[in-house]
């Protein structure tokens, strides 16, 4: 389909200016809706990206205000500004907000806006999923903050260790909001991860091979893989926490044989990759900004790309270094201390890549570049203090002190947020069509840089001096008052810098200098279209013959060729990654079942309360439904619509029989007073089979919708791909049941 050139792209510049649409689309356009409705109903990746950025800005301001409250409370010893209980809520909300509602979605928002532009695509692979992901994330964020209104915000810290987060110690419902909100955010985040993978694999313009991808896109790709493999671990642990809290089970409490340490394993199995989820895209931003403002290509492109993969892989297996103080035993500590030290290697060499890129370059010290250099400086400090935790004795000494607080702020604020600021000053002209004011930008930079180091450097020393984190006040030990006061003053300086940033954004939107398509003379594809880009992004995508397409346009002699990109079916690809992510979720629940199998001391067990023969019948139904599904697809491929409908109906019927069978089993168990609260077997059994049943139900609803459509009309290509997606999901659900059935009912492993 060729899009007719639309001559006058005279869109009023500005963040909220709705870009004019090409005439072709004009003809089919539905009646004009209000601008507000268009923002709410949009599936355009640029608008969703901006929605992400706006939402995170709001959450950032809330989290920042909470930080200011914390620092006022800690400004001098014995302060009574906040009550201890309120202090707990505030620091928990600060941590949770900044991690889940600011840093991750901020990076996702940037990725959402920039990725399709940087690879010459017109939108994300699955635009509706994109909108769904954003709104789920926002819903989660609102739900989390609703806990304030509902009476009690969560107060067990951002990692909510059990048993503190159990009902015995957290009697109010703040923790329920926390878990539910994070589930929503987790689902949205996985959706965006899958979407980004599909986009990067399938929507690249011709010639943009993997080895030519902009490094930001590279990092977003690795990041998305981390998301889809790590977030399910969080979701599984949240589900178990909720079953504990709402159905009185004992996954994570000692009573009844549960294990609080398992929560720590599960949480950090997510939590450590999360650290890299929060920093990899920041590496990507730096890898874009530093070369452009040094007027040199990145030094060691392949190393930067490959080391990201190494970091991603290693990060999945080092979580236990968060748990050295638990007392796991020396074997654990040696293994995880050593593997954690290894991660520092690819990360450290990256820093040299960036420095080598600047070396001998014609450096332009724009605000963006200033932030990039500040990132290098601050992140290196944060990285080095991070390495110290891999040494077990040092970890024992400084864990849960302000040394940890200083470290993670150096990584997340001085690292990621500085990089995002570099990205904001770099890409704002692309998003709005106007430049941010450099003067105000510099003021913002210096205030933030100085304020940051004032606030957090001193915390290293406080921590080494023994000040524990998460205490609402402290005695007047020598030096502590002055150090804490300095830290508080620093936070206020950061606050002022944020006000300068907001002022800069607002005034630039109104009266900033128009930027034109490529204000920085940069090389990647996003600069080849107007600023802001039209709704379909590109009039024509320039040919890609190297890593710097716009440079190659001007220097034709240096360019390679533009080979077409290999593409696979987006539906199959996305479903494959979705299923992989779901498999991780079930793997964690199954692991919990196996882990607790030996711990069930009394009460019902799989042996004396389940009926394998009866369940086998329903199992056969479910497995047969996979067969009928396959037959249905075959019939449709051969255009035999009648028998297609029959097989599809058979699939629905068999699936429904399975669900009814499971329902009957549940009814029998509950009638015998076997409920999740009874013992760990019952809790794990209901959680595992219940979530499987929920998946069957979702599949069944989708199949029924498809069946309804099939009865009304012939399938077009659109419904066809929908059927393919549901079928992959359905086979997956069956495969999971085979594992569950053989583990729980047949006990093949015991």
């Amino acid at each position: 389909m060729s899009v007719p050139p639309f001559a006058a792209h005279n869109a009023p510049s500005g963040l909220f200016a709705s870009p004019t649409e090409p005439e072709l689309v004009e003809a089919h356009k539905p009646p004009k809706r209000s601008a507000r409705f268009e923002w709410v109903s949009t599936v355009d990746h640029k608008r969703i990206g901006i929605l992400y950025l706006l939402a995170t800005l709001v959450f950032f301001c809330i989290g920042g205000l909470e930080a200011i409250l914390i620092r006022i409370q800690l400004a001098w010893p014995g302060n009574t500004f906040l009550t201890p209980g309120l202090y707990n809520q505030i620091f928990t909300m600060h941590g949770t907000t900044m991690v889940f509602l600011v840093v991750v979605p901020l990076l996702l928002g940037l990725a959402n806006y920039m990725t399709p532009l940087m690879i010459g695509a017109s939108d994300m692979a699955l635009p509706r999923l994109n909108a769904f992901s954003f709104w789920t994330f926002l819903f989660g964020g609102v739900l989390l903050h609703f806990s304030f209104i509902a009476g009690h915000a969560p107060d067990a810290g951002w990692f909510s260790y059990t048993p503190l987060s159990g009902t015995a110690f957290s009697t109010r419902n703040g923790l329920d909001y926390w878990a539910l909100a994070l589930l929503g955010i987790g689902v949205g985040t996985i959706g965006t991860g899958i979407n980004l993978i599909g986009t990067i694999f399938n929507l690249r313009t011709d010639g943009l091979t993997i080895s030519r991808l902009p490094l930001f896109v590279w990092m977003v790709l690795v990041n998305s893989f981390l998301i889809i493999f790590a977030l399910p671990a969080l979701n599984a642990s949240l589900v178990m926490l909720l079953v504990d809290r709402l159905l009185n089970a004992h996954f994570f409490t000692e009573i009844g044989g549960g294990s609080p340490v398992l929560w720590q394993h599960y949480f950090w199995a997510f939590g450590h990759p999360e650290v890299y989820i929060m920093v990899l895209p920041a590496f990507g931003i730096i890898s874009e900004v530093v070369p452009v403002f040094s007027r040199k290509p990145i030094f060691g492109y392949s190393f930067v790309a490959a080391s990201t993969v190494a970091i991603g892989l290693l990060s999945l297996g080092v979580w236990a270094h968060h748990m050295f103080a638990v007392g796991l035993g020396h074997a654990w500590e040696y293994a995880f201390g050593a593997s954690s030290l290894l991660i520092a290697v690819p990360t450290g060499v990256k820093v040299f890549n960036w420095i080598a890129t600047m070396w001998g370059g014609a450096i332009r010290l724009t605000t963006s570049m200033l932030f990039a250099i500040a990132f290098l400086f601050t992140f290196t400090i944060g990285g080095l203090s991070g390495v110290t935790f891999a040494a077990v004795p040092i970890d024992w000494q400084v864990t849960d002190t302000y040394y940890v607080v200083a470290h993670m702020h150096y990584v997340l604020f001085g690292g990621t947020l500085f990089a995002v600021m570099a990205g904001l000053y770099y890409w704002f002209p692309k998003m709005s069509g106007r430049m941010l004011f450099e003067g105000m930008g510099r003021l913002h930079f210096w205030l933030m840089f100085i304020g940051f180091h004032m606030a957090f450097f001193i915390q290293h020393i406080l921590g080494l001096d023994g000040m524990p984190r998460r205490v609402y006040t402290y005695p007047a030990f020598p030096g502590w008052t002055a150090m804490n006061m300095l830290s508080t003053a620093g936070v206020f300086v950061i606050g002022i810098s944020i006000l300068v940033l907001l002022a800069n954004i607002l005034s630039s939107l109104r009266s900033g200098q128009p930027s034109g398509p490529n204000p920085w003379n940069a090389w990647t594809l996003e600069w080849a279209t107007s600023s802001p880009p039209p709704e379909h992004n590109f009039e024509t995508v320039p040919p890609v013959r190297g890593r710097r397409p716009l440079w190659d346009l001007a220097h034709a002699e240096s360019a390679g060729t533009a080979r077409p990109v290999q593409r696979t079916s987006t539906i199959k690809l996305s479903m494959a990654f979705f299923v992989a992510s779901e498999a991780v979720f079930f793997a964690f629940l199954i692991a919990a079942y196996l882990y607790y199998y030996g711990a069930t001391v009394s009460g019902p067990t799989a042996r004396n309360s389940l009926d394998p023969q009866r369940t086998l019948i329903f199992t056969i139904c479910l497995l047969a439904s996979s067969g009928t599904m396959w037959l249905a697809e075959r019939r449709l491929a051969h255009a035999r619509h009648r028998s297609f409908r029959l097989w599809l109906a058979a699939t629905v019927l068999l699936g429904a029989i399975f669900l009814i069978g499971q329902g009957a089993e549940y009814a029998k168990l509950i009638a015998n007073r076997i409920t999740p609260a009874r013992n760990l077997f019952a809790a794990t059994f209901f959680t595992l089979t219940g979530f499987h049943g929920f998946h069957v139900l979702c599949g069944l609803i989708s199949l029924t919708v498809l069946l309804g459509l099939a009865l009304r009309r012939r399938f077009t290509e659109k419904e066809d791909s929908g059927l393919k997606a549901v079928s992959i999901y359905w086979h997956f659900v069956d495969a999971v049941w085979i594992v569950i059935f053989s583990l729980i009912y047949l006990k093949v492993w015991a």
Partner: protein, 272 residues
């Protein structure tokens, strides 16, 4: 007995092992005309790894005292030695071997990723099922079969990655990387299962027959209880084994990158 005495005395130069390794090495040297290269070094390292695992005190420790050392032995057999041997294989004799129809046919089957993956991962998992592992400890022929099958399955596993014949190798990205990543996940799961197991899975190591009188040394001086021993074994399967896979994945990136550069060069030449 002190650690030093044990390390000096517990060498068992089994003639079959020494002779076998010697013959393999001699055959290799003869077929490569005694030329020294990085390849030859890799091959020699592979043979040396097997030799040392079987004759050094490690073998005694593994078979009688420590599960963790036994695990290290298995990792050497299934992951490290076959990889080194394959890295050392020269292409020419292999190409000759492929001219034999049945060899070529078998190779075509075995190099299928699903087959090779199942062989490698399956052997690793199967031999650690407590029933089988315990039986192999008590039964010497079965034990030898265990080690040989680990070596063989390890070789089959690495063949699509490290074969000297380009047509046998998988595309480095994404195929080989996914192959290695999923294998890593499988081994990690096994490692996690062993590390977290509440009971002692391999009872022979709980009360070893103390032939060398080093049990007090192990339990008290080294401080390794049977539980800790099992944990170390699980962790070895988990972390270091994973690092082997991660290293291989990174090597796949390097290979893919080199191929990409080669293609670019070929295009430029065609252009001129």
């Amino acid at each position: 007995m002190s650690a030093h005495d044990f390390l000096m005395s517990a060498w068992d130069w089994k003639p079959s092992v020494v002779l076998g390794c010697g013959l393999v090495m001699a055959g290799y040297a003869w077929s490569t005309r005694f030329r020294f290269s990085a390849r030859a070094a890799a091959f020699a390292a592979g043979v040396l790894a097997i030799l040392l695992t079987l004759v050094s005190p490690m073998d005694e420790l593994a078979d009688h005292y420590l599960f963790s050392v036994h695990m290290a032995k298995h990792i050497l057999f299934v992951l490290i030695a076959p990889a080194l041997l394959l890295m050392g294989l020269p292409a020419a004799p292999m190409e000759q071997a492929m001219r034999i129809r049945n060899v070529a046919r078998a190779e075509r089957v075995l190099r299928q990723p699903a087959v090779a993956w199942t062989a490698g991962v399956g052997a690793m998992i199967a031999w650690h099922i407590p029933a089988l592992f315990n039986k192999a400890l008590a039964n010497e022929p079965l034990h030898i079969a265990e080690h040989l099958s680990l070596l063989a399955c390890g070789t089959i596993f690495w063949w699509p990655i490290l074969s000297p014949l380009p047509q046998s190798r998988m595309r480095p990205l994404p195929h080989a990387a996914a192959y290695l990543f999923t294998a890593c996940l499988a081994c990690t799961s096994l490692g996690i299962a062993i590390t977290f197991a509440r009971s002692l899975l391999y009872p022979a190591y709980a009360h070893p027959a103390d032939v060398y009188a080093i049990l007090p040394l192990i339990r008290e001086n080294w401080g390794i209880s049977p539980q800790m021993d099992q944990q170390i074994g699980g962790l070895l399967m988990w972390a270091p084994a994973c690092l082997v896979y991660v290293t291989a994945i990174m090597a796949m990136f390097a290979r893919w990158y080199a191929e990409e550069a080669e293609r670019k060069e070929a295009r430029l030449e065609a252009f001129e």
